[in-house]
Symmetry: C2
Subunit: 360 residues, 2 copies
């Protein structure tokens, strides 16, 4: 669908880290943020990758709207619960540190929840959920986001695309990694269609009058995304309910902004994004080996389900992304020509020229 240039993953990470460092982000934080951002491209979630380097992150750092020093403040703490203030830091760094703390607590308490207020857009939710996997824990990562989704029976945005990410370890099989917007698609997906000059499938979004549209511009221009499920008859109010749930846990429970008050990365002022992280230690419920054996068995059974005509494979969540990450690590990660152009512009503004040579 898109013309792409292919870059070495480590070189790309190194560039992104240099970009952040030039904008006064401490070296180690810049590496964390770079790893999260490039991981999105690596996993094929290009709507959430370096395409947003300047528009979501660099621009805010440059303007002083995002704090380059991500300093967490503890608001409330107990052996299994932790409420943090993200100090308006870079979302990726705040989230990485908050999930690390959550995992530390869960290692002792068997499970833990960490809420975060006063943060910023953190990239792909799945990254933080997956941090639990090496510890044989189940990881959960939720965040609210700027308003883009209309509630059922509404015609204007009132909720974010508020993603749900859950990572669950398996044995010989790959882990289960769900990482989904609670809208049918993310706004980044709509933007990619717009950049490519292609129409979107009917059902993804509505225009400013509340009508379904195939024009990505009309969704982006005072229209709205629809929640998972679509119309009420097909139970779109469940997707609306999940979007609201994520915001109640990420925004309201943390004491952050919520609903229409969550800032867009390009707005003036603090975005005040809220996050919710949880870690669950499997061993507190049953022996990890028995658990992993069952995970493998379940995954294999699902994949053996008889297929619809024309289909030859049933996927487990995260599987396509693991496949792509393997391929891109080996062969390089493809970036659309338009994205490479935007990186060059961002590099000029930040004073870090985008000088990587593509493999193709």
């Amino acid at each position: 669908m898109f013309d792409a240039l292919i870059f070495n993953v480590n070189e790309l990470k190194d560039y992104v880290a240099r970009f952040f460092t030039a904008l006064k982000v401490p070296e180690i934080d810049a590496q964390i943020a770079a790893d999260v951002l490039v991981s999105a491209d690596l996993r094929g979630i290009n709507s959430h990758g370096v395409v947003r380097l300047f528009s979501y992150y660099g621009g805010g750092l440059k303007k002083g709207k995002i704090n380059p020093a991500s300093t967490l403040k503890v608001l409330k703490e107990s052996p299994a619960t932790l409420a943090l203030d993200g100090g308006n830091g870079l979302g990726q760094v705040v989230a990485y540190r908050s999930m690390s703390r959550c995992i530390e607590l869960a290692d002792k308490a068997g499970l833990a929840i960490t809420t975060v207020r006063n943060s910023n857009h953190f990239g792909i939710a799945g990254y933080y959920a997956m941090m639990a996997l090496p510890q044989d824990m189940i990881g959960i990562s939720l965040t609210n986001s700027q308003p883009l989704v209309a509630p059922t029976y509404g015609r204007q945005v009132a909720l974010g695309t508020n993603p749900i990410a859950v990572a669950i370890p398996a044995g010989e099989e790959r882990p289960y990694v769900l990482d989904m917007a609670t809208s049918i698609v993310s706004i980044g997906r709509i933007s990619l269609y717009e950049k490519a000059g292609q129409p979107i499938p009917l059902g993804w979004g509505i225009n400013q009058h509340g009508e379904l549209t195939r024009e990505p511009d009309q969704v982006l221009d005072n229209g709205a995304l629809l929640p998972l499920g679509g119309p009420a008859e097909l139970r779109g109010y469940k997707g609306y309910g999940l979007s609201l749930l994520v915001d109640l846990l990420s925004g309201v429970l943390s004491g952050s902004a919520y609903g229409k008050e969550v800032g867009h990365p390009s707005d003036e002022g603090n975005a005040d994004v809220g996050h919710f992280f949880a870690s669950i230690k499997v061993e507190n419920f049953r022996p990890i080996n028995a658990f992993k054996t069952d995970m493998d068995n379940y995954i294999r059974t699902l994949k053996a389900t008889p297929k619809l005509p024309g289909q030859d494979r049933i996927y487990i969540h995260g599987e396509k992304e693991f496949d792509l990450a393997e391929k891109y690590l080996r062969d390089g990660v493809p970036l659309m020509v338009e994205i490479v152009d935007s990186l060059k512009k961002a590099g000029e503004i930040a004073g870090v020229p985008f000088d990587l040579k593509p493999n193709n």
Copy 2:
């Protein structure tokens, strides 16, 4: 849509309790099970109410396939985690006691998770989530269920309708209560259409060849329900992912049956259903009053969103059910004539004649 007789709620609960007692369920357990079951009808979720009194519960008790004494056994325990074996007891009683234990733990630890293996179908998931509300806690209730849903690209059932229920307290506004099957609709909804001789909307289910169908019989006869979202283009794999998630937490984490191995209530042998409950104490994250003020404000803001043409109200999850429960408590709860007939038959088998007089 249906001809209905109207019954006093307390009389109906009393009848259901007498029914269970006659099948050797201890008096107090019978009252718990009756309260859960009639609460479904009271909240308008008639697919999960007394329509299932015999087919899902009474039949199993009568045959000795469900243990009338619901004895919980602790498998693993820590201050915030508890793994239980439900002793093949009545699902409602097992779930009620397990969630009670979960809330007790969360009262001290700030949050808790209880998993349950070796249980049975527990009725509406929302009932147990709502038990957390009077304690100013967020309640979560998940369960797996017999296979009824096809995974994306599959044409046969491999997963349950595996519901997600979450209850979150508000202040002056009613609480948020999400209680949703992760399929587009539950199998009970299909059965109600079949009983009423009406076609189902296109998209709810497929026939045995994997084709979309409007015939409820074809879904029930070796067909399958579709996960929330429907086709892949509209992201049905998210609904599939949520269904799988619920089973990984309820079935695999608890050490219960999972996927196609979860027993149908009418099968021979233990159903070995698994549940997952969580309670989160709001006060551990922020002051409860500030939380409730924000909940009220969010709910009011959502309801004020401009409406689609022809719509005059935006609902919060649980709101329709609270409205119905108020009305039915006052005026009596309507039961379809066919359901009343099935109660009469069930009453004869159990030796507890269904002798309630309708109000109409």
